[in-house]
Symmetry: C2
Subunit: 369 residues, 2 copies
């Protein structure tokens, strides 16, 4: 076990390497674990001020800038002195996702048994596997009780899994735009994206080496992009008047340039094998799995939960957050409910910082100065 620094030019300023086996929920075994993570603020003497930030699908450990990596992080507006997750009070920690491509063990890691990248051989991961890795990191820091855990979308699924399953205990969970169990409609959206990747002849069962299935990955992202923002936002930004003579393979509509841009962006940030596994992890998400009922699972939650939903979320509709809220209340969990109207739809937790900050601070019981 060794805590070491990695070069500052990439997300994830620190890496924890654990030479220990790790069994995955749906089968498969990893011979070692590398955990890419970042920290902000200071852990207090009794280790009682830690907040775990749980990344969403396309996120990673670099939630905020750091001395080693001054690039703004994906939750830059939420973490820092005086911010929602106030680093003057809290020790904030965030690690990249197991099965992803951002430094924590995943398809780009070396498989000790073959001496080559796992690539298409990397097993299916679950939200529970991901959370077990986060818990392992917290144990390394000697944190037995979290002050809070927070995440949006997939991150919110991680928070729920952590609250119901894993040591350490957690006093406050912030579940933003997430769900207790993935519904089939939402899963279908992701399934279709995965099929697009695997349909690309460049995919080659995941063993594409230096030549990733770019077209398939782009198409998967384009399908996803339609569900991140609201329909109203999309229709408001783009008209359907053809901008050139219509053709099947050229740019006919304005929105194609936007999709193209979003699709191209992912080519530099996402490995296709990682995309497939994290996407599948969300579809397999069900906090009640292994319990007799959702109620039984939620009754294990030791602290209180803030649930937030966005009225215009087309990916995980606000009904599912309302269902979660009801189930939590029925299970006797103390809750706080916030609903937001935002054109950013599913992405609101990545955008609406001014709205979120006072609500999160109140929930975290941070006294205003």
């Amino acid at each position: 076990m060794a805590l070491q620094s990695v070069p500052a030019e990439r997300a994830g300023a620190r890496k924890l390497s654990l030479e220990e086996g790790f069994s995955l929920q749906f089968g498969g075994e990893l011979d070692r674990l590398e955990i890419d993570f970042e920290i902000w603020g200071e852990l207090n003497a009794d280790r009682s001020n830690a907040i775990l930030i749980c990344p969403a699908f396309s996120a990673h450990s670099h939630a905020r800038s750091s001395p080693e990596n001054p690039e703004p992080g994906w939750w830059q507006g939420m973490i820092g002195p005086g911010k929602a997750f106030d680093t003057e009070h809290f020790f904030v920690i965030c690690s990249s996702l197991l099965g992803g491509g951002a430094g924590t063990t995943g398809p780009l890691s070396i498989n000790l048994r073959t001496g080559r990248e796992y690539a298409g051989d990397f097993p299916i991961v679950s939200i529970r596997d991901i959370v077990r890795v986060q818990a392992r990191l917290l144990r390394f820091f000697g944190i037995e009780r979290l002050y809070a855990a927070a995440g949006g979308s997939m991150g919110g699924m991680e928070v729920l899994e952590l609250l119901t399953r894993e040591a350490p205990a957690c006093d406050r969970g912030l579940v933003l735009s997430a769900t207790a169990r993935t519904q089939s409609y939402t899963a279908t959206i992701r399934h279709v994206g995965r099929r697009a990747i695997m349909l690309d002849p460049a995919f080659k069962g995941g063993f594409y080496g230096e030549h990733p299935p770019r077209q398939g990955l782009k198409l998967a992202r384009e399908v996803g992009t339609m569900y991140y923002r609201s329909r109203e936002d999309f229709n408001g930004r783009f008209s359907c008047a053809p901008i050139t003579t219509p053709s099947l393979d050229g740019i006919t509509f304005d929105f194609q340039s936007y999709l193209d841009h979003m699709g191209n962006k992912i080519l530099t940030t996402f490995d296709a094998n990682a995309y497939l596994r994290l996407s599948m992890a969300m579809d397999l998400h069900d906090v009640s799995r292994g319990f007799d009922s959702l109620d039984q699972a939620l009754r294990r939650i030791p602290g209180q939960v803030m649930v937030m939903g966005v009225e215009q979320d087309p990916l995980i509709p606000i009904d599912e957050q309302q269902d979660l809220l009801e189930a939590l209340e029925k299970a006797g969990v103390r809750t706080q409910w916030h609903s937001l109207s935002s054109p950013f739809g599913h992405d609101a937790f990545l955008k609406e910082f001014d709205w979120l900050t006072p609500r999160v601070r109140r929930f975290l019981e941070v006294m205003e100065r």
Copy 2:
């Protein structure tokens, strides 16, 4: 010009062959026109009882069974003696879509200039082109004024185009689950499907001959399938509990079998080049094109319009039918409005015959016996 019968074992019992040129709205020229159509009921002496049925994307001339083709049609429950479109009162006519693959000139037709199928060379078609072909057929029957024209989804777009643009005049339009102009969000859904087809290496620019891009076409249909029914219906029918050990390329979820079934079905009914062109025609739909405004277009409507929307339609939301209704009223058009709550979502016009029938009959002013 020749009216001839075609063998009864396929949709479209009759064919009109016109050796005349046809210029398309967005460029391109056809040297002749074949129109595949069917008729039910009898045209009266003054030719005043004709109802045009406008097919949706995946439909064709075989809207109802006929002596030549006893197979039930796609609007079997709506057309016939005593039905919504009552063949005891009306002469009902329906032709397959230009640019489609069901007998009317399209990518499967022979290009006289090359002696081979058009395939990937077939031009972009528009809803206006499609309606001009329907109007040409009506002219052949000497019909100068339609009693009514009716269609759902793409068929509703055709009705609007016919009402605002084309001779013959039409006294009653029935526009079900359609829109006055396609919005970019809806277009994106179709665009992504088209990309899936063209991404399939079997596509070969449309010149795939006997080996169509099956995987791409299936994937396009799977994306579409998600928007035909409501989210509630989908979530209610399928759970996300894995039915086997999860894997990326096997069947993990119940809904995959349904998507697979819908995807496979299309392989026998849809030519990929036809799919691309009809899909694109819907995205280019805008009844106001060529006018100064939508209002100016709608003011040309000579008769009254029945507008129907489904509350759970995820493809063309009911807001768009409400917007159309308002615009029609503002333009001084007499309207009838019906909204329906149906788990069938966008597909309700193909399913909710008991609900539709009395409303359509009233709108058509058919006296009950």
